[in-house]
Symmetry: C2
DNA sequence: CTAAAACCTGACGTTGACGTCAGAGGCAAG
DNA sequence: CTTGCCTCTGACGTCAACGTCAGGTTTTAG
């Protein structure tokens, strides 16, 4: 498949795919005329890349870890790096859960205020 | 307290605090000579700001929502915005959990490979 | 065959949350 | 008083992950 199709299937821009190649996250074959050609698996790989981006990994980090994640193999050092990133993700999840709780309690309280009658002492009656 | 002390206590840079003032996230009194003066509560407020940043909110969004979060009150519209952000956070948590599972299974598999004897068919025996 | 759509390379633009530097003023200690 | 650290206001620099535009080639639809 060519770049446009992959972009559509994977839900990213064409520019993003060229960026991934430039940064060695995603290799592409070339047609005789120089157009990029991708295998079906590329769709999953792009989704994986996006997932790792969303997890806060930089493209440099992804380059280092992606082979291990794809073929399920790793040296002890890579295993360490993977654990480090896993822990980072754990911490982020905890932070997010905190923030969500905070918003939830605000939402709950404010909803209650609106329900019981206007707001809670905004000004004197 | 002056800006350096707040920066230390809240764990951010002096520059960040000036940035927050510039973007109306955090007001400051001024000494006669023009130096910024903060109350103790500012420490918590800065931590809250950081938490919301970590949750992916932009400074513009934080400006809109911060008053509600701080005093626990909100108009119906703000309540909507809060819910929207809460849902965003929910989605992010789900994505992160996915990514973590992925890393976990890679870590598990690779650890197993190392444990049972080198790697799983890297080359012919 | 031709026009539209997709693709190519290069290169500059964007955005957010600060970093950093310059030049000048303020403030506690010795 | 001066040494040294803190603070001030601009204002330009940074970095990542693309967006966007220019100018040209290739593929596809009719």
């Amino acid at each position: 498949m060519r770049i446009g199709e992959l972009a559509t299937k994977a839900g990213v821009s064409v520019r993003a795919l060229r960026y991934y190649e430039e940064h060695e996250l995603l290799a592409a074959d070339r047609s005789p005329s120089g157009q990029r050609l991708y295998a079906q698996e590329a769709v999953d790989r792009v989704r994986l890349i996006q997932q790792l981006y969303a997890a806060g990994l930089s493209s440099r980090t992804i380059v280092e870890l992606l082979p291990s994640v794809v073929d399920g193999n790793a040296t002890p050092e890579l295993l360490d790096r993977l654990s480090v990133e896993r822990d980072h993700i754990d911490n982020k999840i905890a932070e997010l859960a905190d923030a969500r709780e905070r918003l939830d309690s605000v939402i709950g309280g404010a909803t209650e205020n609106l329900r019981t009658g206007r707001s809670c002492r905004v000004s004197a009656p």
